[in-house]
């Protein structure tokens, strides 16, 4: 099964600014080649502890790593989907196909903080969960359509016709949702993976349709509901559906390898395709992860060395067809 690590982009935010580079560089250097992917949660509008922008941090980490998948968090219901789409596409170019988007949905107190920091603006969702969730879903749709808005062979460099671009291979996405519309096409050519995988963290009360549209869904392990969520999302759905990844905490007392192995086994039996270890304090826990947890999980036969390739390949996702090419 797949093995990932969850990090918070604000993990080191309280420390001296000049130490950030060393901290993150050391972290990614040790994780690269050891685990399949890392997620970076963004702290947008987290009062007083917002930390750095996670998508930019991901773009900084990408050239310092060779193998690891980098899934960058962005609160899609409070950002411009156009900017998020081009930034993740750029991450995919910089990492040569290792990029993913963790589509964060800010709700309740965090969403209210976000609205204060942004101001009351047209085109952004109202302060209720239904509007915020609907907006997040719309934003993900826009981000994903923009990735397809250039066909792979749109750049032709044809001296004969004097054209750099074949305009018929660029497409308006012409999205119109409840709160906003976006015309497109993107300014960034289709990224190497075509569609970098989109991940969400499951939350109580989520619409099953949202779960089905994600490529990767993170679920809190150790609770009975993990099996229910997986079963519900697959009921009556066509196609493969998302890959479920169970989240495991190392716990305040340090890791119990036996406990983790049991939890990982349970998650697999319930239909999860991998586990994500949440590192709430990476400077302490990274050593434990690499020297104890990882060998323990390998010995139990749960995880292998990362297989390399694009993030889509590693999640066993098919080559992404371009919706606009297919429609032509």
């Amino acid at each position: 099964m797949l093995l990932g690590v969850a990090l918070d982009a604000a993990a080191h935010a309280d420390s001296d600014r000049s130490s950030w580079g060393g901290f993150w560089s050391g972290l990614i250097g040790r994780l690269d080649g050891a685990v399949d992917f890392v997620t970076l949660e963004d702290g947008f509008a987290r009062a007083g502890a917002d930390g750095p922008d996670a998508v930019l941090l991901a773009n900084w980490l990408a050239p310092r790593s060779r193998d690891i998948g980098i899934i960058a968090g962005a609160p899609v219901n409070l950002l411009e989907p156009f900017h998020v789409s081009t930034a993740i596409a750029t991450l995919d170019y910089v990492s040569e196909g290792r990029a993913g988007l963790l589509a964060q949905r800010l709700r309740e107190a965090r969403a209210a903080e976000g609205r204060r920091a942004l101001g009351a603006l047209n085109g952004f969702p109202a302060d209720d969960r239904q509007a915020q969730d609907r907006d997040a879903q719309a934003a993900i749709e826009v981000i994903s359509r923009l990735w397809d808005s250039w066909e792979d062979d749109a750049v032709i460099r044809d001296p004969k016709s004097q054209r750099f671009l074949d305009g018929s291979k660029l497409h308006y996405i012409d999205f119109e949702g409840a709160d906003f519309r976006v015309l497109g096409p993107s300014i960034t050519p289709r990224p190497p993976q075509g569609q970098p995988p989109v991940a969400i963290a499951w939350a109580e009360g989520d619409d099953p349709s949202l779960i089905r549209e994600a490529d990767i869904v993170f679920l809190p392990a150790g609770q009975g509901e993990i099996g229910d969520v997986i079963r519900d999302s697959r009921r009556g759905a066509e196609g493969a559906g998302p890959i479920f990844i169970a989240d495991l905490d190392l716990g305040p007392e340090g890791p119990s390898i036996a406990g983790l192995v049991v939890a990982a086994k349970q998650a697999t039996e319930l239909g999860a395709g991998g586990i994500r270890i949440v590192l709430s304090d990476p400077s302490v826990q990274l050593g434990q992860l690499l020297s104890e947890v990882l060998p323990g999980l390998r010995d139990a036969g749960f995880v292998r060395r990362p297989s390399g390739g694009t993030l889509r390949q590693r999640f066993n996702l098919p080559v992404a067809a371009n919706r606009y090419t297919a429609a032509a």
Binding site: S18, D53, L56, L57, N59, E80, A117, L121
Partner: protein, 438 residues
């Protein structure tokens, strides 16, 4: 008296007809390898900064995507942050609009870049055309044209409040925001602010708020007039004449002899203005479909249509179409120019053409004679456009002791020789400067 030190910026070749794609040496405009080659070269040449332009909608002409020029670019802040990871001293300045961004997310991203780069972030503040670009953004065409600069000024003020850290709030005509930022103190106090507008309002905004001006006045005389005008505005904001650097955009064509450089220039201009591109330029002024005209033939007989606008997504350089058409007609008749020859002539930008010695000497003259503090150069090739410049021109400038042999400062602000950043609260400002210094 020691000589003025030259500031050099390196623009990544952009989405326009100056970037030549037909040359066999032209590489990808989007692959990271191109950005890597480009940034490593200019850092080897000890340039002050890398500069990226912006365009948030694919350009269109006559309702169709413009196909003739290089198109497709990365997200500005994302690629600059990636470049900060593979370089150590060169500054990173991105053009980012105040029209389709909001202060909190943008200030936070610029702060992120400043911290991760160790104090090398810069922001070229621009405003965007409303309806055309707005179609890609949540708020759409939300801003009356006349309020663009007011919003830009208030945006910068709001961003500075956020960069100062802790609880922030900004209440103005365009913003009503509050929150708490956890990123201060930034390595530079605040990122470098550049301003590109050339209008009266743009000059005033720069005099009050900017560290750099990216200008278009590249000739010696025009440059001197602009330089004096802008520097004279600084006193009223309580700023010294050194607090704002003036950097015209320019191109260069290098040859082993003057003649060879001129021959190269001719060939490059023919590539930049292809026959079809010549017609497209003409259509922007005539505002008519001229695709049936021969680019090697004479100008159209008909006058421009002065109703709606044909081209979208590029700076509108031809405000008065009838007047422009009259002047072009006169020039073409006087010198017997075809459409393509005329467009090659009238769309020429400021260029230094010659041998490495003559170009170095011209750059130096512009700076020593107060037409500029330096230049932002845009080569015509991706990604190797600066290879020869770094190999041949930079050593001559260093020999003349007008350009650094190595970076002296740790931050972009330090390398540019600028005073500490302006932050809103004086007391907090002094405290931050103290903390940064210590």
């Amino acid at each position: 008296m020691s000589k003025k030190q030259i500031i050099l910026g390196a623009q990544f070749p952009g989405v326009n007809n100056f970037t030549v794609w037909r040359d066999p040496a032209a590489g990808s405009q989007i692959d990271f390898a191109s950005f890597r080659h480009f940034s490593e070269t200019v850092e080897r040449g000890k340039f002050d900064f890398i500069f990226l332009a912006e365009g948030l909608r694919v350009r269109e002409q006559k309702g169709r995507f413009h196909e003739l020029d290089v198109a497709g670019r990365p997200n500005t802040l994302a690629i600059l942050t990636a470049l900060s990871s593979i370089t150590s001293h060169v500054g990173l300045i991105g053009t980012l609009t105040t029209t389709f961004n909001e202060p909190y997310p943008l200030a936070r991203q610029l702060a992120t870049l400043d911290i991760l780069s160790g104090g090398r972030a810069g922001w070229n503040v621009v405003t965007s055309p409303g309806a055309f670009t707005g179609a890609n953004f949540r708020r759409g065409d939300h801003l009356p044209f006349g309020e663009r600069y007011e919003r830009a000024r208030e945006f910068i003020e709001a961003a500075r409040t956020i960069w100062a850290g802790g609880d922030f709030s900004s209440h103005s005509r365009h913003f009503d925001i509050a929150g708490r930022s956890g990123l201060a103190p930034l390595p530079q106090g605040a990122p470098i602010i550049a301003q590109a507008g050339d209008s009266e309002e743009g000059r005033e905004l720069a005099a009050g708020h900017a560290d750099l001006i990216y200008s278009r006045h590249g000739t010696l005389e025009a440059g001197q007039a602009f330089y004096a005008d802008v520097k004279n505005r600084l006193a009223k904001y309580g700023r010294s004449r050194d607090a704002l650097k003036i950097l015209p955009g320019a191109a260069f064509i290098l040859g082993d002899t003057q003649e060879e450089a001129q021959e190269k220039l001719k060939a490059i201009r023919l590539q930049q203005v292809s026959p079809k591109n010549a017609i497209v330029f003409l259509e922007q002024v005539w505002n008519r479909d001229l695709s049936d005209h021969d680019p090697d033939g004479p100008l159209p007989v008909a006058e421009p249509d002065i109703s709606a606008q044909l081209a979208q997504g590029r700076a509108n350089r031809f405000d008065n179409r009838l007047e422009t058409a009259r002047a072009w007609r006169e020039l073409a008749e006087r010198e017997g120019l075809s459409i393509r020859e005329l467009i090659i002539r009238v769309t020429a930008r400021q260029q230094f053409v010659g041998t490495p010695e003559s170009i170095a000497s011209e750059i130096d003259r512009h700076v020593q004679e107060d037409a500029a503090d330096g230049f932002v150069f845009a080569p015509h090739l991706t990604p190797g456009g600066f290879d020869e410049f770094v190999e041949k021109v930079i050593p001559i400038l260093q020999e003349r002791k007008v350009f650094r042999r190595d970076y002296s400062g740790d931050t972009l602000r330090g390398n540019l020789g600028l005073p500490p950043a302006l932050l809103p609260d004086r007391e907090r400002h002094d405290e931050l400067v103290g903390r940064i210094a210590s």
